[in-house]
């Protein structure tokens, strides 16, 4: 029997509200399937499961807020026999008697039937019961100001994470200017062969360069947990995405080191769209092993980033701009980008950090290999 728990969707998360179940007891589930939606104050996140099996029982009701680690459901993994004579009553008792109309109304109104008291024959829940409970539930809460609450919640979460980062992580910062003329020329040539919808943005080149550079300097990729560094074999780059209403999230694009540019481009656009719509997946929240933030659009030249704990490094990019560039005794104008590294000094030192930035630079000089 496997336990499906409230995941930690970031170091700052202490509890989550189970907004919606997408599974019922008896349903077969597959690893990677989205089984629930959780609200973390930061976003509404689709939660994936990491077992193959059959849902044995659900322990948390929709609407309930529970701490990280709480068992949400138990899964009978493949090969296990069903627990035949259920020894204990499931934690959630579905009301035995609900009229079909009441059930329909409850669904329409988003009312959890477990919270409704039945007044019908032998305790049956009727439509009136459901409608009365709506009045009870929503009246004190109204008028709801979800955007404001969400906004305040998001701010609180960012404050907690960044406060912890600055308190706990001894940051060091390194910067480098990278000549982007080859990369931009290659991109222009590549895009001239593509239809408008298939064109690549230079951001994907940066993401690929960071991911591949990690292979050379693995101290940048992983987590600081319980006083020790845990390197990660996989490279999941968290992409800092600013939200329109303010605040930011940094969900992961998985396995960037193994993906082609086309694929990466598609995933990046999808991720940005979903992040702004507030529908991200649990793994995207919990998995980033390193973060990339790109503030070029705002005209920023250099970023001095704050690491997102428990990660150990963040790479910041500024604007690609033509600058005077001296090479071979000559000064010319070239497109240049400033890359910065914020790294955890407990894990790595400036020497390794410098090698890491140098690797990014080198990789960007051979854009055709990215």
């Amino acid at each position: 029997m496997a336990e499906f728990r409230m995941p930690s969707l970031g170091a700052d998360m202490e509890a989550g509200t189970l907004v919606e179940w997408r599974i019922h007891p008896g349903d077969a589930v597959k690893r990677g399937a989205i089984v629930a939606v959780v609200d973390t104050e930061k976003a509404t996140i689709e939660i994936e499961i990491f077992e193959n099996g059959v849902v044995e029982a659900i322990h948390v009701r929709e609407g309930e807020k529970v701490p990280v680690g709480t068992v949400l459901a138990t899964i009978r993994t493949d090969g296990e026999a069903p627990r035949s004579p259920a020894p204990a009553a499931p934690a959630v008792e579905v009301p035995a008697r609900v009229s079909p109309l009441a059930r329909k109304r409850a669904e329409e109104l988003g009312i959890d039937l477990a919270t409704v008291t039945g007044s019908g024959e032998r305790g049956a829940i009727t439509r009136d019961d459901v409608e009365r409970s709506v009045a009870r539930v929503t009246r004190p809460a109204q008028p709801e100001k979800p955007s404001e609450d969400r906004q305040a919640g998001l701010r609180r979460v960012i404050a907690a994470a960044m406060g912890r980062s600055k308190r706990e992580i001894p940051h060091y910062y390194l910067g480098i200017d990278i000549d982007m003329s080859r990369a931009m020329a290659w991109l222009a040539a590549e895009n001239s062969k593509r239809s408008v919808t298939d064109r690549l943005l230079y951001s994907v080149l940066l993401l690929r360069a960071v991911a591949l550079a990690v292979h050379e300097v693995p101290e940048m990729n992983g987590f600081w947990v319980d006083g020790a560094f845990q390197p990660s074999a996989a490279v999941h780059v968290g992409l800092a995405i600013s939200l329109r209403q303010g605040g930011l999230v940094a969900p992961a694009i998985h396995d960037i080191d193994k993906k082609r540019l086309d694929e990466l481009m598609r995933e990046m656009l999808d991720l940005v769209k979903r992040a702004r719509a507030g529908v991200l997946r649990s793994s995207e929240f919990s998995d980033p092993t390193i973060t990339v933030t790109n503030l070029g659009e705002q005209g920023v030249q250099t970023v001095f980033g704050v690491i997102y704990p428990p990660q150990v490094a963040l790479v910041g990019f500024g604007k690609v701009a033509e600058r005077p560039w001296a090479a071979g005794g000559m000064i010319g104008a070239r497109p240049v980008i400033s890359a910065s590294l914020s790294a955890d000094h407990r894990v790595s030192d400036g020497h390794r950090g410098g090698r890491f930035l140098a690797a990014i630079d080198r990789l960007l000089q051979e854009p055709e290999k990215l």
Binding site: S99, P100, L101, A102, R103, K104, S119, G120, E121, A124, T126, R127, D128
Partner: protein, 333 residues
Amino acid sequence: MSGEAKTIRTTYREAIRAALRDALQRDERVFLMGEDVGRYGGCFAVSKGLLDEFGPERIRDTPLSEAAFVGAGIGAAMGGARPIVEIMTVNFSLLALDQIVNNAATILHMSGGQFNIPLVIRMTTGAGRQLAAQHSHSLEGWYAHIPGIKVLVPATLEDARGMLWTALEDPDPVLIFEHGSLYNMEGELAVDAGPVEIHRAAVRRSGTDVSLITYGGTLGKTLQAAQEVAAEGISAEVVDLRTLRPLDTETIIGTVGKTHRAVIVDEGWRSGSISAEIMARIMENVFYELDAPVARLCSAEVPIPYPKHLEDSAIPQAAEIAAAIRQLVRKHG
């Protein structure tokens, strides 16, 4: 002329007699036959005076032989006449079941569509007059099981007056069940009352909390019960089915979809009854609209007793219907 509709005070019996006279006058192919319909004026005095007016060729007394005279009616209908056959009670119609079910209902089919049977059979049904078990049963639900015939159950003066002609115009066999306890029912009927359509159920009282679905002899009691609970704040809708075959499923779905609760009142016995069929259709069509299990009131599953107090307690009464409504609606403070 003023716009005010003129009405006359009349009874269910007189309304049927007016319908018979009207049909006999309108169409010379129409004739009435049955036990004691002529000289005696009908066992329930429905056809009183018609023999004098229309003569023995068109108002025909028959021997006590239901199979023979229903069979003769089928033959006459095939031959181009428009016979109205009267059977004294539904209990006695069982003697003619072979003619009704095996012949009247099937000939159109068996002849490959060559022969319609435009036959109308009228009979009395139901209890409430202390006529004991051989004269008091309600078997119209059985007939509603049979494809090939239509089953009408007039419960109002308008339908008693208007259903006969529409039935005669139908190319296929139509059975009309007159509830014995309604013959003396009095009321106002429009002077110009005439044929009515026979395919739709009628909402006799509009309401929002519960649908009372009934027909025939229990319509009056059901309306009375609806009136009674209205005083307690329960708004009951009353549907008169009017026709048991074909059943107007659309109206049933409509009313239950609106009120979300239903009580069916049926003087037939519960097991395998028309009320069971109505419940099944509700389940098939509007299950997700229901706020309570569908309830029904039927007759006790006994041969209808002779003594008044036992007979009364064997069939649905207004007070019981009202109690069933209260139980179902359970108005919350």
